[in-house]
Each structure stands twice: as C-alpha cells, then as structure tokens.
C-alpha cells in the first residue's frame, strides 16, 4: 500500500539557519532518503520551492481565478513529500516518525487511493 508523507514546515526557519545548520539539515534529509531507498520502500520524493512561488487556481461562477500564493494561509506550508510503499499504516507511521521534518514541522500521512 502506498502512502504520501506530506511535509509541512515553517519556511522562515530555513533562512534563519546558519550555512552550517543548513548543511546539517540537508544531510539529515539525504540520510533519510537513503534509508527509505535501502529499505526498498521509496517510490518517489521531492522538495518543493517555497510557497511564495505557489499559484492557486479555482473557478468561481464559471470564471477561472488565479491567486498568487499558496492555498492555505498558515505558518506551516507544504514543503515536500515522500511517496512510500509499505504494508500498513503502522509501517507508514514508523517511517514518518523518522522523517527529519517531525523535528521542526509536521508530517501528514495519507493513504493513496488505489484505483
């Protein structure tokens, strides 16, 4: 069963970090991705550009509206994801718990709707 681990973090945190801290942070994520790969559970993962670069679209009264910015106006923004393939929610939660993002943000675990 596939699960999406969606990472929500406070983006301003990154800019406030020293280059040394940033390097450490990147290292933690790389190690995590490596662990997912070697366990054979990683399907795919990506880091997203900051939410300031987001564009949100919806249709109101038949008219397409475009908004400059992310959908949700919250401190924590979607910053990246891991798509993993594991047996059940317990396994997905175990992996989510190891994700560096739980130290400085939140990780949402969502089951993929198999068609």
């Amino acid at each position: 069963m596939q699960y999406l681990l969606a990472l929500y973090v406070d983006e301003s945190g990154w800019e406030k970090m020293t280059p040394e801290q940033q390097k450490q942070g990147t290292g933690a994520y790389m190690a995590y991705a490596e662990a997912l790969k070697s366990a054979g559970v990683l399907v795919n993962s990506n880091r997203l550009r900051p939410s300031a670069t987001a564009t949100t679209m919806r249709t109101t009264n038949g008219k397409t509206q475009v908004l400059d910015g992310p959908f949700a106006d919250s401190k924590e923004q979607l910053a990246g994801y891991y798509l993993i393939d594991v047996a059940d929610l317990d396994a997905a939660m175990t992996w989510a718990g190891r994700c560096p993002a739980v130290q400085h943000g939140v990780v949402e675990v969502r089951a993929i709707w198999t068609m």
Binding site: M1, A87, D88, L89, D90, M93, V109, R110, A111, W113, T114
Partner: protein, 424 residues
Amino acid sequence: MHEQAHNLAEAVARNSRAKLVAFLAAGSGDLAAAEDALSDAFATALSLWPAEGCPANPEAWLLTVARRRLIDHLRRQREIPSSDDLEQLAELSDFAGAGAAPAEDDLPDRRLALLFACTHPAIDPVVRAPLMLQVVLGLEAAQIASSFLVSPAAMAQRLVRAKTKIRDARIPFRVPNRSELPDRLDAVLDSIYACYSEGWAEAAGTDVARRELAGEAIFLGRLLVELLPNEPEVWGLLALMLYAEARRPARRRADGEFVPFTQQDRRLWDQGMIDEADSALRRASSGETIGRLLIGRFQLEAAIQSAHVEGARTGSAPWSSIVGLYDALVQLTGSPVASINRALALAEVQGTGAALKSLDGVSADPRIHSYQPYWAVRANLLARTGLNDQARHAYEIAIGLERDPVVRRYLEQVRDALPGGLAS
C-alpha cells in the same frame, strides 16, 4: 423450540460476535462490511434455526453464512477486484474449505488485534471507546450516543468515519510487539475504563443504557484478562471496575437518594464481585505477572478501593496506606483528581488543616475550578474545620457544577445541614 433457537442465537451473538467480526474483518480491514455480513447471518439464523433446529456448532454455522455474504459483498463492490480483494477472497475461501464449517478451535482468535485496531493511536481518542462498544459488543450508535452525551447522528458519523479510516488508511489488525505494548495497552485500558466511567456516572440508576454500559465494560475487562493474562494492569483494571460495581446497589436508597460511601449499607454490596476483585488484584501482583517493572495506575486505584472495602469490613480503614497509595498515584499520573482524593485520606491521618493545605496545591490547576469533586471535597474539609461560611460557599459551587439531580439534591442537604446557615 423457537424460543430456544432465539436464545441460542442471542447467546452466540453476544459471546462470539467479537471473534467473528475480528476474523471476518482482519483481511480487508473493512469492519462495516464484516458487521453487515454478520448481522445478515444472525438474521438468517433466527429465521432458520427454529424450523430446522440449532446447528451443532452455531459459531461455525454463522461464520460460514457471514463469509458467503462478505464474499458476495466484495465481488459486488468492484467489477475488477484489486489484488487486496483477491487476497481477502482467497483467505476467506481457504477457510471455507469445500464449504465445510470449520471446527470452532480452528478459528483464529483475532479479538485482541481487533481491540488494538479500535484503540490505534491514529484513531481519535474520543471515538475509541464507542468504537469498541460497537464493533466488539455490537451496541447501536444511538445507544452509545446517549451514554456519551452526544446526538445519535453525531455518534453514528464518528463511528463511520473511524471505520472508514481503519479500512482506507489500512490500520493493521495486529497485536503490538513488546516494545510498543505498554503504550498501546494503555489506550485499550483507558477506553474500557471510559466505558465503565460513563456507566458509573449514571448516578440516578434509572438510565438503563448507561447502567448496562458498566456491565459491558466489565465484559471487556474479563475478555482482556483472558487474552492478556500476564499483564498486571489488565487485572488491575478488572479489579477496579469490580470493586466499584459491587457497591452499586448501595449507592442509592430505595427512594433513589444518593448515599455516600461512608454511609452505605455494606450488606447491599455484592460479595461475589468483591471476592472476584480481590483475586484479580492478587493476580495483578502475583509471580505470574512479575517482571513488568512498575505498578500501574489501575492496580493502585484498585488497591485503594480494596483498602476502603477492607476498612468498611473491619471498621477502621488503613488511612496511612491509602495516603501512600495516593502518593504513588499522584506521582505516576500527575492527576489533580488523585490529589483531591488524596486530600480526603490525608485528613484522616494528619487532620483537616493539612488536607486543606494540600488541596491548595491543586487549586493552581485552572481545570480544577470547574470540577465538582474538588469543591465538594473542599467544602467537606472546611465544614469539618468549622469554617462553615466558606464551606457553604464551596458547596454552592459544587451544586452549581453537578449535572446529576440526585447528587445535587444530596449536596444541597449537606449544605443546608451546616450550622449557622440562614433557613431557606
């Protein structure tokens, strides 16, 4: 004949339901489908058994019928079955053999895994106890709703949501391993105790659904000691519930008025239940369960109940020991509720002044100010110190916070009996 068949179906429904639901749902995680299939099977039993006679192995008979229903359901659900569906079908069919009913002993017991699924950390804590009551015991949403003081529609919605999550997010039906067990078991125990407390909170004794809830909780407690006989806290919880339940007949006078513990007629206590509680508590601390490090919350609370029961029997409660048990409970749980009860025990050992002082320590917690027992205990201690005006004020607040009219009436009587009050 008809009645006999009916009674047998009811008995199997009660005793085997959890086992059958657990088995039917374990593969797909689809509790709702398993429950539907099982109720179909029960309905079929009620229509066939009176005419055709009761089967030799009713549990296996029900399983066979329910399994067919479930297979039909899974086939109908999708035109192209997913690999998960096929797995589930294969497992169910394997078990069906050539349609022969399996012997009862062959049916894997997945009830424990079911209890852990219902109390999984990914399930909202407020719905865990209701979910257990519905899935394991088969209670209707409306019945559960009235006990938990929410509307039937809201309860039904919560239950559907929880079952959907178990199925779609694939919460596994499995017994946690050693390292996870303590935390996961706490969730099961807390949920069972929540069922019991809801049943116990019904003070008037007239709300049958809620009174029965206490009985259901004890049923779950007995089931859990059967499934996890080496866990001390499981025995502790059972003991605690039985001590409380044993005193239920003495909690009300014949006219329905509230009777505080110290004034209860202990001839009304259920001695059989007290004996069972005693032996459960002994079992909790016996050699068979030793090796688990710390004494738990439920054992401590049961030990306190045991001391009170012993005290009522001998005429003098071992107050120092009771304070010691409360000390341990406060340290373990940090619960202000435990601190409040500790104050009452402390009053017997060190006097009401010391007890009031210890209560002041609790009042820093803002939640406590809307907690009725805090004010009732405070009022009691103030009255015993002779501070009647302050006691009256504290009773006033306790009365204002109490939702049960019977308890409210009792508190009003105590308040009115305080010396120096204005005649009302």
